[in-house]
């Protein structure tokens, strides 16, 4: 997800399209990316830690994006 305050051209365009389609009470649309993956990490904590490392190093662009990691078993 883009950081608060960073312009989200996608979100803005989607919001506009939703309004045109008649979803008039929708606002603050923000578009982000979700990445699902499988890991061989043994524990919940190890997986979380790995996810955070991957987020910092590659998956998110720290300059303009925030990210969060969730582990599902």
């Amino acid at each position: 997800m883009l950081k608060d305050g960073v312009l989200d051209p996608q979100g803005k365009a989607i919001e506009h399209a939703l309004h045109v389609l008649g979803f008039l009470d929708v606002e603050n649309v923000r578009a982000g990316r979700i990445i699902e993956l499988e890991t061989a990490a043994k524990t919940q904590e190890a997986a979380l830690k790995q996810g955070e490392e991957m987020g910092r190093n590659l998956l998110a662009n720290g300059v303009i994006e925030n990210f969060s990691v969730e582990v599902i078993q």
């Binding site: 312009l7 051209p9 365009a13 303009i64």
Partner: protein, 578 residues
Amino acid sequence: MKVDEALGRQFGLSSDEYANMLAIMGRTPTLTELGIFSVMWSEHCSYKSSRVWLKTLPTQAPWVIHGPGENAGVVDIGQGLAAIFKMESHNHPSFIEPYQGAATGVGGILRDVFTMGARPVANLNALRFGDPADKNTARIVDGVVKGIGGYGNCVGVPTVGGEINFHPSYNGNPLVNAMTVGIARKDRIFLSAAAGVGNPVIYVGSKTGRDGIHGATMASAEFDQDAMEKRPTVQVGDPFVEKLLIEACLELMATDAVVAIQDMGAAGLTSSAVEMAGKGGVGIELNLDHVPQRETHMSAYEMMLSESQERMLIIISPERIEQAKAIFDKWELDFAVIGHLTDTGHIVVKHKGTIEADIPLEPLADQAPLYHRPTAPHPSPEPLPVQFSTSLSLKEALLRLVGCADLASRAWVWNQYDSTIGGQTVKRPGGADAAVIRVEGTDLGLALTTDCTPRYCQANPRRGGAQAVAEAWRNLSAVGARPLAITDNLNFGNPEKPEIMGQLAECVQGMGDACRALDFPVVSGNVSLYNETKEANGSARSILPSPVVGGLGVLDKVELAMGMSMPKSGFIFIVGPT
């Protein structure tokens, strides 16, 4: 926040500059006023270090319609048409966020050109990256190339040419120089000088957010590790909105409603309002309550300094408001009357019932700092050792040459740029020494090129500067064009260091010499200083002196344009001494 000299320093004002501001104001300025002074007097907006040298460049020729001083240069290309072009840098933002930095660089230079009434018909660029082996280089190259393509392709302007070099001096400070060329009718060129006391000031385009506040001053500050912490100053571009803005502005300009128009570039609302009113010799009053805002609780300071992209400021006559609004409504863009012209000669900024700024425009412009910075001769580097290795076969030597980063094929880059959109591209990247496009609906062609060899400028700045101009001239001649004029982008290190200032002075003089000799004037350009990286040991390493030249020429019969692919048979001639 208390406004004092210390805060002034944080905003980039020297003690003298701060004192001068106090003298002009006759009182302690407000935070918003300080912000306005600091951006208007920044290197980026005031050219305080380079102006004395820029003035030595030749800018006149019978075919020059507008030289430096407008948003872009304008030359007569015949048949009642004009080519409008300029180059601009986005070096510092591209290091912090390569994709968005490069993308917004393209967006900014496009606006400089269509703001004058031209439909943009071609983009070019000149890129310099660090050592290919450096860990950051691949990421920066990839982001910059994607960003240039992402913006240009979406806006629908073909990217037809450019150049790329690698050198370790650009490791922490890549150069991203973007050039746009547009075409307009000679008698329909729009300027930025505001006129008509009482005329409304119109804001169009995207909403204002807190993007890139202080980007203009950042672009003039030396780079170091802290730069990474200044990240939120990165702006995000929206090429889709830019495309709508081009169409809407050109539609409005086709009526006779526009008195003056300017894009909101570096220092956003501040520089556009100050420059438009200043050039027109009028005052301007803005009511920020009416500025379309993307975020809540924005302060006057933030709105005046925001660098949100894809915005323009327009002066029209009051009876044209409805007509103009209908056009921007059609293109689904924001449109707001945010002020009017006055006869006070001041810029007055109101927000929520208070006057946040009230500055006399004349001294703000006329007393902008101007420095004759000391120059020192540039130490010429040791001559390169000449080595003849007999152990390499001709084939091995050739393979080594074509395999080196500066000579290898650039097809992987231009294959990401849409070079054919518009249906007028006669010589695409790789097809000739200069790109050639047809001027739609005529037999005319434009030849376009960007050139600079920083190595030469390092070895001998004066001859290097001259060489860049000469190379552009040759490339244009090689496709059969008559070279008309250049735009340039002077990329150098810290001008407070005499040897860097020496490089700049010498390069500019060399360029001037060549321009005069070739009758090839400079009609627009841009300066980017403080291109340095702090090394781990604290020392600052400057980039190679890089005065990039963008050349434009015209072909009266575009079908005669020459390419460089070899015919299946024929003779080879070499012209000139070897």
